[in-house]
Symmetry: D5
Subunit: 187 residues, 10 copies
């Protein structure tokens, strides 16, 4: 069974954010929308461009009430070191979680036990701490963070309008389908 509809398991972690070390736990996810973006390793190649790309969407996501977290099995010390070293990473203002105990990566089912690194998984989590979308790519296949905004809007619309159904390729303001029995087999 996939993680869709499951509540995030308990965790406690250190993160680097805006020049400081902060604590993050699963309790922090309650009452806000969250995006968790896993990647294999600091100081590796695709990762900085993916994380930079996510940073560019950060303002738009914040406006939707979404907090963003990146996660790798590196420590928060390494996140700071990378932030200090890399031009792309230095732009990042969201929380970079260190997961050296591999707990969070294992909880989200993205830990490669053989290498100890996380797969490239992106998760949207609702204000109940429940996972709404999962996206995971093999190494080398970059993620397009710009889809995230649309996905979040669709997830928020569904949450606010229970009973209405959101068709494919939905964009904000587009027509949605309210399910009625007559529609079965007609569309």
């Amino acid at each position: 069974m996939s993680l869709i509809g499951k509540e995030v398991l308990p965790f406690e972690a250190k993160a680097f954010k805006n020049g400081e070390f902060i604590d993050v736990t699963n309790e922090d996810l309650k009452g806000q929308w969250s995006v968790f973006c896993f990647y294999p390793a600091d100081f590796s190649f695709v990762c900085p461009t993916e994380l930079e790309d996510l940073q560019e969407q950060y303002a738009a996501l914040k406006e939707l009430g979404v907090e963003v977290y990146s996660v790798s099995t590196d420590t928060h010390f390494v996140h700071k070191g990378w932030h200090d070293s890399s031009e792309k990473i230095s732009k990042i203002t969201y929380a970079m979680i260190g997961d050296p105990s591999q707990t969070i990566s294992r909880n989200f089912d993205v830990l490669d036990e053989e290498t100890g690194l996380a797969d490239r998984g992106t998760f949207i989590i609702d204000p109940d701490g429940v996972i709404q979308t999962v996206e995971i790519n093999a190494g080398g296949i970059g993620r397009d963070a710009s889809n995230l905004v649309n996905k979040v809007k669709a997830a928020q619309y569904v949450r606010q309008n229970p009973g209405e159904v959101c068709p494919a390729k939905w964009e904000e303001g587009g027509e949605t389908l309210t399910p009625s029995l007559d529609l079965v087999g007609k569309i």
Copy 2:
């Protein structure tokens, strides 16, 4: 651990395609790129628009050498019934796999054991039968099939150019990054 990098487990199934009932097994996936699109139920609401949307990308995907399969835990009889009844579904020309034994849905980790229905999962599978991308959305959040073409291109580029790294938001013809040691921590 996620399904990324895992080979598709063995299955045998009946599918409805182009007015006929055909057999599909995991062996058919060898030597071609494949997209597997799971959805909960025939004759339900979002599904037809998602499957119609996928049909619109089918030609483009075929040109990339990609075969498309939709899967639900309905039977192939029901797929034919739905194809006959629904205007949107009647356009579909790719194979609609029936999975009433729930084997394939369980193999792809998208079966909701309580309801017996599949989550909305989309998978890109390479010519070795190995899963390259996973995307799963909660009920009501539609999928945008247009991303699939880009993702497939990225996956194909990575396969054909081992050692080069494909950054985020990659589009065909865009610049890619060839990893070298000097780049570590620089981008």
Copy 3:
């Protein structure tokens, strides 16, 4: 040990009945006589004629205080789709239960685990929710619903006249045997 004399195990299901989706649980069986008719799959061949045949007995069964339920591992959505499509099925006015989680089929011991489809089993259930008769045919061997009325009458007679014994080929109004010790070995 057969299911005869066993109470129906708990279940919750959606059914299609008279153009609506309704809930059905094992609790609904208490206080009425019930017939459960399992069949493999909507949109397949023998099934519609069997279900049509059952519909023709529905009025007679209703008069005996019997509610009728058909069950397959298809969803209630599919039952509606089939009802809309098929001339024979469109006549059906009893509840068509969807059992995609396979719970009810497994409880009645008619689930073929390999195919995920139900065997062709018919069950008469008394107002205590206890199974009184079981009949199961291999694929292709049709059931004759007209026997059901007689069987129900015999079951009701036995329930209302405990201590009397109902001989073979019993029909309403026919002579029954009241067991007495003297009859042992005499008939």
Copy 4:
């Protein structure tokens, strides 16, 4: 899962037939059609009428190449004693199997472990020793053996005409349905 489609498990038994004690094993079922009729107890009330009713169908069943066996957990000695005592039973010419070890009743899933008696189950078995139909009634509800002939004919027709489908209420010479894809959802 029901016993439909399962081969009869191995057994060895003594039976009373035509004034003699004979051996019967599961191997005897190969190459002929068979009916197994279980009942709780010799010298009890409904049973003689049921067995008498079955005897009346015996000639017709023989013509269809069907051998008939009654089975209870009484011994073959008791079958003889009953045959000598009861007018109805004295007419019986088919084999009356004694199953005091309860092996056969347990194999056909009709043994009530608490009482040591068999439920009233009737089984049609094909020439491969495979069970094709099951019918079980609670105590007191008599069986109508006249249905057996029709059921056997249907089972034989299906065996001889694989690929054709036999609708409900089928009688010999009636129209059958040959399944074709076009019929799905049409009937």
Copy 5:
């Protein structure tokens, strides 16, 4: 360890006695002396002569306060049928217990699991429901019920005269031995 000195395990059974069906349980054994006489099967050969022989001792045993029960794994229906048919058995006035569930035969350790029939065992049970003597013969070796009276008398004497010892071949009124230390090694 043998059953000598063990209390009879709980059972509930139907018996045929004096033209009626009665209930017998282990509780009925409390407060009376009992003889249990197991045999393999009604309507078989040695059995009637053994049971007739036992009947001839019944009056003498009754005078000693002993109730007599015969037991086979046949039903009480069969016992009645046999009583009606057989000249020898028709004389029997003690209770003939039916043990089709094989519980009592298994409790007294005389059930042949392979055939489902009881060995030819005779047991004397005291008013506490405790087994005092066991005698079991292989098939074909008849029992001599006339010994039973003497054995019961000896058992009753021992119960009434604790501390006295009853030598071999004891008959009522004969000399008994009261044990004293001086006798050790002397007799």
Copy 6:
């Protein structure tokens, strides 16, 4: 299941016989009829009279080709000591087996584990080493060895005349019943 029809389990023992210590094993039982007479303890009260009583039958049993063995959990040394001390025991000429390891008593299911003593069990064993009769009495109830001769004769008759049946209270030369189907339910 009782020991009737079971072969005696392997044992090796020392016995006292005719002023000598001899070896006895289960192999010695092959090719002769044997009586095994268990008792609790040498130098106790009933035992000498029982053993004396058995000695009186010894000649008659020998003529029937029967060897006699008494067994207690005392040693063969003690058997000699008792033989030397007791007037009754000094007459014994059959083998007195010592079973201090309790193996034989346990094999014949007559060991009282709490006291380490044997119940008063008598067994007739045929020339195949198979137990034909069992008789066990509670402490204080003496055995009547004179029955043994009749029982042995019955057992020998059954062995020599397979297919004939020996009724109750059988004595040598008496009429026996040859079973035929016609007799079922008649006697």
Copy 7:
């Protein structure tokens, strides 16, 4: 770990003493010194001389407050029988315990399970029921009971003078060693 320093496990037994049968339990050992002398079998060879030898020390042991018990797996009946028969044994006035259930011999770890006989073990037990010395000889090697008196005296001295140490070959009134730290390595 040896039995030294372990409390005697619970037991209940019958013994022969001074022409009477008495009860002995582990509780009787509390508050007195005890000697337990195991031997294999009454009426065997070395045993009487060993037991006679022990009897000769009995008076001296009694004066030291020591009770003496011999134990074999023979019964108390046999002990009486032997006492009556044997000149040497007839002199014995200490308790001869019968251990036919083998409980005590097993508790003292001297039971030979294969033969059911006890090894030749001698044990000194203090007034707390705790074993102070163990001596066991293979069959045929006699014990010299005269050592027992010295051993008991040493054990009593140690108990009464805790902190003093009793050297080898200690005899009453001899010099003992009071341990002091200075003596370490000096003697």
Copy 8:
């Protein structure tokens, strides 16, 4: 079961003997008589006097073909240290085995697991490596080594004269008992 009659389990150890460190294994015990003398600890109080006492018997034991070994859980280094320090111990010329791994002490069942020290056990072992006598004393109760010579002689006599029996308090040249059946119960 005691260790009497058991072969010594395999071991390998270092010992101090005559100013040298030597290897000792269980194989060295084959073909000679051996005495094993366990004691708790070097540099403790009773021990030196016991070991000195044993040394005084060493010549006599050697003449009987007996090799002597003392064993404690101290190392062979400590044995040398003690030998150098203690006047009594410096006289010792037999092998002092170091058993810091506690293997030998555990094999001889004299290890106190709580303290890691050996009980005061003395064992005589025959030329087959089989234990013939066991003697164990609680702490503080010294052993008298002078008994050892007599015990060894008895053990050797029994070994050389199988079938003869050696009475209690046996001394070389004394009368022995040859067992004959007539002696049973007479001595």
Copy 9:
């Protein structure tokens, strides 16, 4: 996981210190700093020089509030014996713990189960009984106790100044590093 940060497990032991035998338990370690120095065996070669070397640091360690304990699997008796014999060891004034039960050595994970001897491990334990440093050398590689003083000072500084970090090669009074976020990746 190493023992660093683990509390010392419970133990009770005897030690030799300043000419006396004292008790030492894990509770004694609370409220003081402790050094535990394990070594294989008294009276062996490297050990005395190591222990002498440790004695030379004892005064300096005492000034730092550190108690010193040496431990081997020898007894406290042997420690006294060695102290009396060896010039080097006679200088020792710290507690020499005897661990013949091997409990402490096993708790500190330095027991070689095959030889029963301890590895050469040195441990610094803080006043909470928690292990702060571990050092273990293979046999023959001596330890330099002079490092201990510096290590203890560093451990004490870290305990007294939580939040400050002590660099490598730290010596008292040297500059320490107070961690601040800015230093990450700078030093």
Copy 10:
């Protein structure tokens, strides 16, 4: 049992060395002396000074034929990033192994499972891949790498001079002790 004397378990890892990524396995340790220096995390505080200190000893260790490896659970990418960023770390020329799978840290028993970081453990490994010394410090207590040279020399001396013993505080050229029996207890 400690890791002393154990061979290093198999591993495969990536390391950063001299501006390149290289492979390191346990096989590389064969035929050379090795030092393994574990530390918790790159970009943390004590670590750089410890690693710098180790670098200062690298030349001396190389001369002794010793290869040096640092290990943390960071990736080799992070090691490069740190090497690029930190002045102290930039001087390092030995191999910095990345152990994100935590395999090596777990093999050397220094993994803190809760944090996923390694304890500060230093290990000297001989040319057979066998661990000779272990040293582990709690967090904050720096290691003094200068001891390593001396320890290595001692370990090499012991390896080259088996049978000689190296006292505490050994330095090259110093006097060593050749063990002889006479020295036991003398030094």
